[in-house]
Symmetry: D2
Subunit: 385 residues, 4 copies
């Protein structure tokens, strides 16, 4: 890269969760600098937040419209290169569309939009503008997830037959949204989060992971969404039977009422010759199981790793990389791609390996399909996009 | 106990798998001795097997009918106390019925019979005769499974909300039934194994475990059974959505085509206050997870264990007990119960804690219900017994 | 085998710990039957214990002298084939010598004797009589330990460079010997247990394991034995630096005051090409680590295991075998060896693979050497036998 | 903080390992910016490295002397606030002394200097100048290490009795220093790394960790340092018996020839009431073991963690933090402390919780003591500082 890219952040004020994570991830490699912010719907909070982040006054904006407008009027070498949108789901679409219209690349927290229809419009805008949109499906940023994907794509397991993915969390085991937990409040409010709770928030991650590693697409589903904690408007738990486009089957579980669980995303994928297992909470280990030989423990940072994993690794084996490094990989690859484009170079396949608008559409389709299936008495429904 | 109980074995000749396991389990505690056998449909194999097991010639029978008839004519103190039936599924019912008719208690390998109807007849016979029938759902014999059941029943987790049980194996990943694997041959043959493959062989274990620990009953299901390896007549894989009679939900996966897996039965159960996780392949550990406190590692053989776990433990903490010990617990409790009955004593609740004809009926019902559901286009079907 | 071997037990009355373990192990495979007993120094307890074990009155003896004398006078086909000695350490030597003199094979709990001198006399007696002596260093009976030994001997790791073995337990973290714990009482009493506590009780296991797997012999030591809980007469904890006869180095830790530990024997062994790690509390897994390739997970019961592990395995992969199975392997191999000898056959190398008097001598030498080293101000002392 | 601190880096050019790690760590929280560099002894490499890091030409210096001199002449608001020294060990002392003399705070990679004498001089200089010196003993930056320290200091385990710390790596299993591995080359060269290899490079980390968590000081040692791979001048492996100042004992193992190991630092610490175990390669888990209750699994990011762990955590439970986050904690606390000092505020105890010159002296003392002990035939030697 020739210079640090300049990031403008929309949302992510001082009490937000995911905005801080985005900044940590964007900071890590020294390729990106926070340059501007419209950090809160409350301009006072936004200003205070900007000062805590050492932004100069003229780069702290009252709202995203002001930021996008004024930034687009600045000289090129003072202007932000991209925006990061870390607002609640309902507030993704409008700033993303405006940013693209104003010529800015976009990083956006998942799920991409509030509805599938918005997602399709957003993708059309990306294609129209030729700009880069990156969606932060964090878990696909882990080196061992990339290793799994590469090994599967190279046929290590033979044809894929079965995928089991589960994502239990326990943090919504009680009605914490009524006890002052702001994260819980908007994530359980369909007006802000969309028509699904658990499936939108974490089921989309699980579905993305299954499709990303396997290279398959979900083609049919049978969903059972549940409101386990009385008083909620949308699902806090769900189980989904899956069929993939190669005929293989699967199960996806996402739950936010699995009391005692932290963030226990796990995936198992089986092919003709063997299987793989990866646990997000011990992310540097990929177990590869064979029918007639000892299982193998692939570990981040070793010389035997494939090029995608190596490209997304910062430290030698045994120096654990974590969630923020996975997140930072998405930012790094986005930044390398933007930089290549700014310099009329072709990004490599490693650079381009970050979730994009297509993934965003599939995520929104996942939400709409599981909600529809759950409301149906028919067992299998075709996956519609 | 006053003396060793005398066991007569039906099936379990020299090349059989599960018969040898039953003998190891029955031997362990020194409460049971192998006294007679009709060990094979081939009398020569049966004789040879009997000699390898040090049976005297007059206790090696040509077939079970001969054994049951002749044994019933022997003086009481020379006669077997019970039979163990370790034939393929289709050959459970007839010898079990005859054994009960002749006055012998019965141990029987799961699934109890070939059909639900047989299972009901068998239970009626048990009630009619007042004899003891024990079904070897091995996994309920583990100390930590009993600890989990006891803690749940005492309310440690609060009301149960969700159960995830999975049982992946890989040994049927290829058509090994056509390559001389006798175990595979009868287990994939519906005439011998019944109308389900994977669900009958291992799904029943998973369902039993879920109901045993939780104290709940499956009330509705939505099943997806699959023939993954082409050329099979019945399922070698399946996924089932569950509803339990308290309204909680669950997922059950049983697969024998999960290449690279050994015998990876795992269960997770969540309640209002926390969750539990148990892995059969590391059976001496029960993880108990709490919403607002560190998870705890319960371990076999420690002083803090409940009375059911303690009763089923032979060695101090850190001296791992395994599959055979779990199996032996079922035999031990069966033997203690038979002995109590022989001596007109009341068995304790710890002694009576082994699977019986009711569990056998639920197992057969599970098979029939999942097969019916899998063939249905309706999402949910009521669990019929 | 032609018939079950007949076992006479010395010690192991109704409240004993290790005697019950020996019986469970001897029972398991149906190759051995308990035939006689001198089960307690208290004849009343001995009689009561014998009845609980279903021994006939004429096979319950007042003491071992009576048992050995009377059994030796019985007809060959009524007489015991071997004795098992499960008394405290100080009471191993005399019955073992007498048993050999009377023509009985011997199984003996470790450490073999109270002193190295006794051990040497016992070995001389074994050689003189040509009888079989088996020492129950249980941990060498695990299939994965045998796999490790075989792989090392076949050069999988190249020349061995370093061994780390640790054996922490917590059960003597308090003065439980003064609170009615009979096990603790004799094991902390030098008159009964010998001149070392922790090193004699568990350090000998650790040393045996290191030498058994590596095929090396300890040649120099530097020991630090500690009395951590005030009031004890002998070590309850210790650390030993090791040199082996090929020049490699090692560390051995044995502690019974490691509060919170159960029986956490672990070994790591490194060679030029890779390393191995085995944990007794998860005994069916052997991790094999390579310099330039993913580590491998060897697991009991799989087809890729070597002949020694296979010979010592009873169930397929994923059906965990535990401590009692490891113990039973020692009994099984002893029984097969005795049976071969009784029938003038040559035992196979798999049958002969159980600890014997040579291991007993090395165990006693270990105790005497570490105690001497610990009392010395010299760093390294040659290992004397 | 009021503004980002400005960092000047000494060493850490484009092919260096640890310099890149320092930058990743310093970047992460957005509290520090790389402002200047003397990145290589080769000015051309230094210039090229600076450009890759987006430094302006006037902030890329030919050597550290130039950087320190010129920076000290800049206006305060253009000048660096501190230097980070990431050169090989022999090149720590001179730039650190000069930096302090010129008024700059210092971050320095461990071990602090080449000799204990240098370490003492450096500490005297720190005291003389009143500036801040931070030593990057990374592993003490992990939240769970801080939790362990806090729980021990609050008496959770009672009086400490035993510490076992091991640090096996495999990367020096061959003479890679002769195969172009620059890291291996200087770390095995006593002129550049100091008088110890494995003990200086990683043994110091292990010793620091033991003292940091326990709050104890090593008081006596008995060391066995080894050159395992022929052709080396200094130890690549070693084992050390320890005594601490409260009378407890311990063992420390550090090896760089443990083939197949990555960076497997582990510590176990036992007190009267229980024990703790932490593994660097799964750093978000701290197992706390109790004598009479189930062990507990403390996990990073949960509400039950103490204030020190919480202060050093960025993400909620289940979002794994890794090596870089631990490293970043040291930089964050250093930065907060420098900022407090710049603003005449009192740093909190959480801010001050980073390794300093005292830790550096103990590290150098560790090296000198283990080397001396290893060369001695006397068993125990007093730990001299």
């Amino acid at each position: 890269m020739r210079r640090k890219l300049r990031m403008g952040m929309i949302g992510g004020g001082k009490d937000a969760f995911i905005g801080a994570v985005h900044r940590l991830a964007a900071n890590m490699d020294g390729l990106i600098e926070l340059n501007a912010g419209a950090l809160s719907v409350n301009p006072e909070v936004g200003y205070e937040s900007g000062k805590l982040l050492f932004l100069p006054d003229n780069k702290i904006y009252k709202n995203y419209e002001e930021m996008l407008t004024k930034e687009s009027e600045l000289p090129v070498d003072e202007r932000i290169d991209f925006v990061t949108i870390v607002t609640p789901n309902f507030a993704h679409f409008a700033p993303a569309m405006m940013a693209l219209d104003k010529g800015f690349n976009v990083v956006i927290e998942k799920p991409m939009t509030l509805t599938l229809d918005e997602a399709k419009q957003l993708k059309a805008k990306v294609e129209e503008t030729g700009l880069i949109l990156c969606l932060t499906h964090t878990y696909s940023g882990y080196p061992m997830v990339k290793q799994a994907k590469q090994m599967v794509s190279e046929g290590a397991l033979g044809s894929i037959r079965k995928i089991m993915v589960e994502y239990p969390q326990g943090w919504l085991s009680t009605l914490s949204e009524r006890e002052g937990n702001a994260q819980a409040a908007w994530r359980t409010d369909p007006a802000k989060t969309g028509k699904s709770g658990s499936m939108g928030d974490i089921g989309t991650h699980a579905a993305h992971l299954a499709e990303y590693i396997s290279g398959l697409k979900i083609s049919k589903i049978c969903a059972d969404l549940n409101i386990v904690v009385p008083g909620r408007a949308i699902d806090d738990d769900g189980n989904v039977l899956l069929k993939f486009d190669n005929g293989s089957n699967g199960v996806l579980v996402a739950s936010q009422i699995a009391a005692g669980e932290e963030n226990a995303l796990k995936i198992k994928i089986y092919g003709e010759k063997g299987g793989m297992e990866w646990h997000q909470m011990e992310p540097n280990t990929l177990i590869v199981k064979w029918s007639n030989a000892p299982a193998q423990i692939y570990r981040t940072g070793n010389g035997y790793m494939g090029n995608f994993a190596q490209h997304n690794t910062r430290t030698p084996g045994g120096h654990p990389e974590g969630y923020l490094e996975a997140f930072a990989n998405i930012y790094k690859n986005f930044a390398l791609t933007v930089d290549a484009k700014l310099n009329n170079e072709e990004p490599t396949s490693e650079m381009l390996d970050f979730p994009n608008a297509d993934d965003g559409i599939r995520g929104m389709a996942f939400i709409e399909n599981v909600v529809a299936s759950s409301q149906s008495e028919q067992k299998w429904t075709d996956y519609k996009i």
